[in-house]
C-alpha cells in the first residue's frame, strides 16, 4: 500500500495511470447516469405526500453528499500538503475546490427549487441551509486564495491552512438538523437504525449517488492531469525564456 502511494507520488506515473483509467471511468459514469435516470423517472414511484417532486431528491441528495465528501478530501489533501508534503496533495486540493463549489451550488439550487412547493419558500435561513451556504462561500474563498497568491508554494500552504480551519463546518452541516429546529428533514439514509427511505426510492438514490461520485472522480482526475500539464508548461516557458538570447 505504501509502495503504491509512493509510486503515485510521481506525477509522471500518475499521468500514465490516469490516461489509461479515464476512458473507462467516463464510460462507467455515463452508464450509471443512464441507469440512475431510468430508475429515478420510470422505476421509482411518486411519494404519497410529495408526489413527483420527490424525484428532485435523486439529484439534490447526491450533490449534498458530494459537497461534504469533496471538502473532506480537500482537508485530507491539505494535511498531505502541510505534514507529508505529498507532491500531488496540493494539485488534488486545488482542482477539487472548483468541482466542490459546483456540486454545492447544484445542491443549493435544486434544494431551493424543491423547497418552493414543499415549504412554500425558495429559501429559509435555517441551520442546514445556512451551513451549506457557508460551505459554498468557503469553497469560493479557497479558490480565490489559490489564485491570488503568486508564489505557488505559499498559495498551497495558505489554502491548506484555510481548508483545515474550514473543516469545522462539515460536522456543523451534518448535525445541524439535530442541533437546531429546522425546516429541513433529519438524516434518513446515513443514520443509526438504518435508512428510513423505502427501497423503491433508496435504490435509485444510491445509483444516482454512485453516478455523481464517478462523475466527480472522472472530472477530478482529468483536472489533476490538466493542472500537472499547466505546471509543466509554466516550467518549459520559464526555461525557454531563460535560454532566449537577450
Amino acid at each position: 500500500m505504501t509502495t503504491m502511494f509512493a509510486r503515485l507520488a510521481n506525477p509522471t506515473v500518475f499521468l500514465v495511470l490516469t490516461r489509461r483509467l479515464l476512458p473507462a471511468l467516463a464510460g462507467l459514469t455515463a452508464l450509471l447516469f443512464a441507469a440512475g435516470l431510468y430508475l429515478s423517472f420510470a422505476a421509482s414511484p411518486a411519494d404519497y405526500q410529495q408526489g413527483d417532486t420527490v424525484r428532485i431528491m435523486y439529484v439534490h441528495v447526491p450533490a449534498a453528499w458530494l459537497s461534504m465528501l469533496i471538502y473532506t478530501l480537500i482537508a485530507i489533501s491539505a494535511l498531505g500538503t502541510l505534514v507529508w508534503r505529498h507532491p500531488l496533495a496540493d494539485v488534488a486540493a486545488k482542482t477539487a475546490a472548483p468541482l466542490g463549489a459546483c456540486f454545492t451550488l447544484l445542491c443549493l439550487l435544486t434544494g431551493s427549487i424543491w423547497g418552493r412547493p414543499m415549504w412554500g419558500a425558495w429559501w429559509v435561513w435555517d441551520g442546514r441551509l445556512t451551513s451549506v451556504f457557508v460551505l459554498f462561500l468557503i469553497y469560493l474563498g479557497l479558490i480565490a486564495l489559490q489564485r491570488t497568491i503568486e508564489d505557488p508554494g505559499q498559495a498551497a500552504r495558505a489554502a491548506a491552512i484555510m481548508a483545515i480551519v474550514g473543516f469545522i463546518n462539515i460536522p456543523i452541516i451534518k448535525f445541524s438538523v439535530d442541533w437546531w429546529n429546522t425546516l429541513h428533514q433529519p438524516a434518513s439514509v446515513f443514520r443509526l437504525g438504518g435508512p428510513s427511505v423505502d427501497p423503491t426510492m433508496l435504490w435509485p438514490l444510491m445509483v444516482m449517488a454512485a453516478a455523481f461520485l464517478f462523475l466527480f472522480v472522472t472530472l477530478h482526475l482529468a483536472s489533476m492531469r490538466n493542472e500537472l500539464l499547466r505546471r509543466r508548461i509554466r516550467t518549459i516557458a520559464l526555461l525557454n525564456s531563460r535560454t532566449q538570447p537577450a
Partner: protein, 49 residues
C-alpha cells in the same frame, strides 16, 4: 401534486446545466493546454536543432 412537474424539470435542467458546464470546463482546459504544450514543444524542438 401532479401539477408540480415543472419544479422537477427545472431542478434536473439546473443539475444538467451545471454538470455540462463542469465537463466543458475540464475538456476545454485540456484542449487549450494541449495546444499550448504543442506550441512550446515545437519552439523548444527548433532551438535544440
Amino acid at each position: 401534486m401532479s401539477g408540480h412537474w415543472h419544479y422537477v424539470i427545472a431542478a434536473y435542467a439546473v443539475a444538467g446545466a451545471i454538470i455540462l458546464a463542469m465537463v466543458a470546463w475540464v475538456v476545454g482546459d485540456y484542449v487549450a493546454l494541449g495546444r499550448r504544450m504543442e506550441r512550446l514543444g515545437g519552439q523548444s524542438g527548433r532551438r535544440k536543432t
